[in-house]
Amino acid sequence: MSEKYEARCLNCRKRFEVEKGAEIAVCNHCGSKWRISWVTPEQPKVQGPA
């Protein structure tokens, strides 16, 4: 199993899981699709809409 990390969704403002190194992720709460950037190898953040 690959490691999971969290980012804050800009639509529902909840934290959602992002797979390590992912460039695109979908919020499991509201379904918003985001482009992801990585602040550190352990800390993803939403960069913009996908």
């Binding site: 800009l10 639509n11 403002r13 602040v39 800390q43 953040k45 939403v46 960069q47 913009g48």
Partner: protein, 631 residues
């Protein structure tokens, strides 16, 4: 940290009087912003105009400025400002404040006007007024380099004005190093009006810490607390441009002069990640472990070879979304020019984008300006900026801010001017976020985000958590109006304490609820100064300091009618953004209730005037002039 000095400098009489800052004033106001406004409140009477020699320019280091923790490299510059004719106030990072303290002074209270350009040289307890005619006309970088050379010490730190301050552009900055700006309220213009080009300082004097061992341990703990937050990690890498990703995606970034609330897809090139290509190195203010700033280099294109520092998020609006340009090169180049000129890029950007919209609506024409102002034309942006700073043609009018310029252009044009109390707003679009809107409206220095913005409101934190933090029940929903008057009140007091201590807001509860706040400031103050404060006492100092600023505004004609966000935010709904942001605008009735809740929380009456009982409780008396008489 006690027994520190304040210098009263009279530039007209060329005299300096030095006094010790009494402990009693520390207990009432701390230092920095709080103490600055104690001096101005008592000594600047309403008939004094901002550019009169009788106006004061007060430089104040925070009570904790110059410590190896919490980014305490900060300095407050305060005056009666030309834009609002009320509180003109700016907080600057960098290394000037700490150096001033090592030179033996915490506050400089400056009045009068020098006969010819001068600079102050502050060195180890002495203050000298020196000729500066040879520096007049130099940009802010050149001035500082010349001062270092002339004084013969590369550790000299200076606070200087550039072209904008010399030309008394109403929103001129004071600057330290490349990008540290005392950047709001026109403090640079007042400095220019006094013929004061610079304050250079260098010190090798000791600053005493009450309990050294405990302090070292606690300072390290504070730094760890900040660095462990996700906020600090993001800030360390991306700097404030990180905010752009949130605001343009969500839809609260003024675009084409607030006609839109985001550029949408078109704004993608300005995402923070793309700034990484320009970064040479991360740099920091003195005493900061976060290092939110970048040294950048433009490698290719028109501005190839430019090495500078910054830009901050604000510039991404000013020379970005507000004028319909989405190009890092322009943001970086424009930022460097603004820093050389010593001009507030927030105000400048809002005024330029206003002119662009007036041109779009044919209120201004090519004949008025001399060229076309078409959205996205970066040369037009740079040229208009230059004309404002140089006060050339229409620039001369725009350099006096919205209120003065509209007298000539037409009062109707003010609808498109996004300002409060005459101070241009930063590029945020607050119409979808009631707490942000109230914050820019009640801010004592006019539209501004650094006086109260409860940025954490956007996180929709659990209400139990908010109650623990704020001490009141606060609604988690950031689109709500109810309880947000209390939230803004809390942040107004808190930011006042942050500014009075000299702590960096980016290491406070501003954007991150896990950063140190009152509970941590109590022991820090104890170990550093030996003074005991309780959390409640600190909150009361915040209330006292804030109320004095409010009173200063009121006696200068800024009351309730000036506590409203721009009319446009009530009338035009958001056209873009995420579904919950689209269509939102401010509701007048709900806003009014929120304002009343806010006044009541402060102990002010329904017109926003502090009640007698409030003043009594806070121990605020009528102004009593106390600038020492000099022969």
């Amino acid at each position: 940290m006690l027994k520190r000095k304040v210098a009263f400098v009279d530039l007209s009489k060329e005299k300096v009087v030095v006094e010790e800052i009494p402990k009693e004033l520390r207990k009432k106001h701390l230092g920095g912003r709080g103490l600055n406004w104690y001096y101005i409140y008592n000594n600047v009477t309403p008939e004094v105009e901002p550019f009169d020699p009788e106006n004061l320019l007060v430089i104040g280091t925070g009570f904790l400025t110059g410590l190896p923790c919490l980014g305490t490299g900060r300095t407050q510059i305060s005056t009666k400002g030309p834009l609002t004719k009320g509180v003109g106030d700016a907080n600057m990072g960098g290394a000037f404040g700490p150096e001033l303290r090592y030179a033996g002074f915490d506050h400089l209270v400056i009045k009068g006007k020098a006969k010819e350009p001068v600079y102050l040289f502050v060195y180890n307890g002495e203050i000298e007024i020196r000729k500066a005619s040879h520096l007049w006309g130099l940009d802010t970088y050149e001035t500082q380099k010349a001062l270092k050379e002339e004084i013969g010490d590369e550790r000299v730190e200076s606070m200087v004005i550039g072209k904008a301050g010399e030309n008394k552009v109403y929103f001129a900055n004071v600057m330290n190093n490349i990008k540290n700006a005392g950047g709001r309220g026109g403090t640079g213009a007042v400095m220019g009006s006094k013929n004061l080009k610079a304050i250079a300082t260098r010190g090798t004097m000791d600053m005493h810490i009450h309990d050294v061992d405990k302090f070292i341990e606690y300072a390290m703990q504070m730094n760890q607390q900040v660095l462990s937050t996700k906020w600090a990690k993001t800030l360390s890498r991306l700097g404030t441009p990180l905010l752009y990703d949130v605001s343009y995606t969500t839809g609260f970034i003024g675009t084409m002069n607030w006609q839109y609330n985001t550029p949408g897809k078109e704004g993608e090139p300005l995402e923070a990640e793309y700034l990484q290509d320009y970064i040479v190195k991360h740099t920091a203010c003195m005493g900061c472990s976060v290092h939110c700033r970048h040294r950048v280099k433009i490698e290719r294109g028109e501005y190839a070879g430019l090495i500078t520092e910054g830009p901050e998020y604000t510039m991404m609006g000013s020379f970005g979304t507000l004028v319909g340009c989405y190009d890092w090169d322009l943001v970086i180049k424009g930022n460097d020019e603004c820093n050389r000129w010593g001009v507030d890029n927030l105000s400048l950007g809002a005024i330029i984008s206003w002119a662009f919209e007036l041109y779009q609506r044919e209120i201004l024409t090519e004949k008025d300006v001399g060229f076309k102002l078409e959205w996205g034309d970066k040369n037009a942006v740079l040229e208009l900026a230059r004309m404002i700073v140089e006060r050339e043609e229409i620039g001369d009018l725009l350099a006096n801010g919205f209120l003065e310029a509209a007298k000539k252009i037409g009062e109707d044009s003010l609808y498109y001017a996004i300002h409060v109390k005459g101070q241009p707003d930063l590029h945020t679009d607050e119409r979808g976020i009631p707490s942000f809107a109230l914050g820019i409206a009640t801010s004592t220095r006019g539209a501004d985000h650094l006086r109260s913005r409860p940025a954490i409101d956007l996180f929709q934190l659990p209400e139990e958590f908010l109650e623990k933090l704020i001490g009141y029940k606060i609604k988690s929903d950031f689109t709500a109006y109810e309880t947000k008057g209390i939230l803004v009140w809390w942040f107004e007091l808190y930011f006042n304490i942050v500014d009075s201590l000299g702590v960096c807001k980016f290491q406070s509860t501003f954007n991150c609820p896990h950063c140190p706040q009152y509970d941590e400031y109590v022991p820090l103050l104890k170990y550093a100064t030996g003074l005991d404060f309780t959390k409640e006492e600190l909150i009361q100092i915040g209330e006292r300091n804030y109320t004095m600023e409010r009173l200063f505004n009121i006696i200068n004609g800024l009351g309730k009618e000036h506590d409203y966000p721009p009319e446009r935010f009530f009338k035009e709904p958001n056209k873009r953004g995420l579904p919950f942001m689209k269509g939102r605008k401010l509701d007048r009735d709900k806003y009014e209730k929120m304002l009343m809740e806010y006044y009541a929380q402060h102990g002010w009456d329904e017109n926003g005037v502090p009640k007698e009982e409030t003043l009594k409780k806070l121990g605020i008396e009528k102004p009593k002039p106390n600038f020492p008489e000099v022969e």
